[in-house]
């Protein structure tokens, strides 16, 4: 039940071109910021939206090409969006039984299937409730069961955790992880802006920016070693572009960022240095230790990021835009606020240097290069 898709879309001045393959039993995550065209891809796959040109083949069946355009109900898909969209006039059980009913099952058989799926998502006790009597997390649980009850060949997940509160999101993520792993037939496409979703659920990830694929490859590889500042930002990582040097990376400004080069790095070739925000330390009174990998900057912004506070630095040099994760206590102790002068220090052993396709000084020039790894 593998999926092959080539989609070309135009919405006003926005143009999107993507091409990808999802093997049977695997999950592809499409990562990108709002407005990058992620949901349009799902719309095209489901048949709810008409792309300008597309070739979509699912399990050997052509869903769409120049002469074929199957309507949504004939596509053997399941769709789960951030809003559960349970039919308000039907009980949870009837909602889950909707797909089997629509595909010709008898009333009784549909109820059996619905019970099985509600049990599968640990929501059997909610069977007789109306959607208005369910919490957000419960409703999404039922919606998962409803999307799967039709036994779709292709499951489409559109930001399925975005509308959930912090307590229910991990539970639903765990549930999806379990049901997606439980079968090896179905292809799944997950659209999200959160790299955590991709890491938790997806085998492969496709990073989308302004309607173009900027990276495409195995999830861990793409997210842990981003080749573009754009992916790094999405993955929540720091990324500095430059050229590979003896013990690290030389920026276009000539500064040497000490780090550990990967095996495939060629001296003098374009490269990127990647490190997590937690590897960046911040000092307010100058750095007491060795001067390697330090830079003076000012605090650009402070924003909460889960249990920590993410400090974004602002400077004239290579440290501009770098982020550091600090505990709220540390932020208070250092008395940080936007504009405070700081010194950043990055442990060289936490900096990984990877080859890059181009060594543009800014994210935009990096994006223009063809940085996709596969296909």
């Amino acid at each position: 039940m593998s999926l092959d898709a080539e989609i070309e879309l135009v919405r006003g001045s926005f143009e999107l071109t993507v091409e990808f393959h999802v093997p049977a039993g695997s999950v592809l995550a499409i990562l990108g910021p709002n407005g990058s065209g992620k949901s349009s891809i799902l719309g095209s796959l489901s048949g709810l939206l008409s792309p300008r040109r597309a070739r979509i083949v699912l399990a050997g069946t052509v869903l769409q090409d120049d002469s074929v355009d199957l309507p949504a109900h004939a596509r053997a898909i399941g769709l789960l969006s951030q809003d559960p969209l349970l039919f308000p006039h039907l009980s949870a059980l009837e909602n889950v039984g909707f797909a089997p009913r629509s595909r010709g099952a008898s009333r009784r058989r549909a109820r059996e299937i619905a019970r099985d799926w509600l049990a599968e998502v640990d929501a059997l006790e909610l069977a007789d409730r109306k959607p208005s009597q369910l919490s957000g997390g419960q409703a999404q649980r039922v919606a998962v069961a409803r999307a799967l009850a039709g036994e779709p060949d292709l499951l489409l997940l559109d930001e399925p955790f975005a509308a959930l509160d912090v307590d229910s999101a991990p539970a639903i993520r765990g549930l999806l992880r379990r049901v997606l792993r439980a079968q090896r037939e179905r292809a799944t496409v997950l659209v999200t802006h959160d790299p955590l979703d991709a890491l938790a659920l997806a085998d492969h990830v496709l990073v989308l920016a302004n309607g173009q694929v900027v990276e495409y490859g195995p999830t861990r590889e793409v997210l842990s070693t981003p080749r573009t500042a754009f992916t790094a930002r999405i993955a929540g990582l720091n990324l500095i572009t430059g050229f590979a040097a003896e013990d690290g990376l030389r920026t276009s400004g000539g500064y040497l960022v000490a780090g550990i080069p990967a095996d495939d790095v060629v001296h003098g070739e374009p490269a990127v240095a990647v490190f997590e925000p937690s590897a960046v330390a911040i000092y307010s009174q100058g750095y007491p230790g060795s001067p390697r990998n330090t830079a003076d900057a000012v605090v650009g912004s402070l924003e909460p990021h889960g249990p920590v506070i993410r400090v974004r630095a602002s400077s004239e040099g290579w440290a501009n835009g770098l982020t550091a994760d600090l505990t709220p206590a540390a932020v208070a102790e250092l008395g940080l606020e936007p504009g405070s002068p700081i010194t950043l220090s990055i442990k060289a052993t936490s900096v990984a240097v990877h080859p890059a396709v181009s060594a543009g000084p800014s994210p935009t020039t990096t994006l223009n290069g063809d940085t996709s790894r596969h296909g």
């Binding site: 969209l85 629509s102 489409l156």
Partner: protein, 258 residues
Amino acid sequence: MPWVLWIPATVALALVVLPVVGLLARSDLTRFPSLVTSDASLQALRLSLVTAALSTVICVLLGVPLAVVLARSRLRGIRVLRAVVLLPLVLPPVVGGLALLYLLGRKGFLGYLLNVVAGVQVPFTAGAVVIAQTFVAMPFLVVSLEGALRNSGDRYEQVASTLGARPWTVFRRVTVPLLLPALGSGVVLSFARALGEFGATITFAGSLEGVTRTLPLEVYQQAEVDVDSAVALALLLIVVAILVIALARPRALEGVRS
């Protein structure tokens, strides 16, 4: 809310309530029972209820599909059609009646055809009353349904289609059930409008006692002969209107989803 709004609001309320009070003050309640139970009155009442109920049924059968088409179709000319549907709402009913007469009358092109082919004459029959009432009442139903459809969007319908439901199944199992609250208010509004219809009826169906003389026409007739009787019948119409509103619950009238 600025308190100044209370002044025009009170005037508006008075404009609605005071005429009814005036009518009550003028009425002779002792003669009320005998006046409204006269043969002519009962006949008019029966005719009004039957024709208004029939037109409401036709409004539902034709208006629901029309509202769905107007709200969901992506055809180019659909915006023009939306405006056309409002025509009976803004047209003086008398003009509507005349238009119907010149379509379905003996000299109208459709009426001529009906007469020649099937030997049917529409004007000045109870059927004409129903057609006139449907003509003026239909927009009330269509507008309230179309608004509800456009407000709720087509997301539930899209989900249903991804779950394998064919268009007809989606309509039957999702669109119509979700439309029921709005349908309730639409039915009440169009029934009330059909019940009170006067201008189109008198032009297109005439005022034939027992055949086309509905309650409003009877009130008009009596107003020139016997004012007490006209007032009593007017009260009867008010009672029926209040009953309709009470039965339909204010929630349904306001179009609130239950």
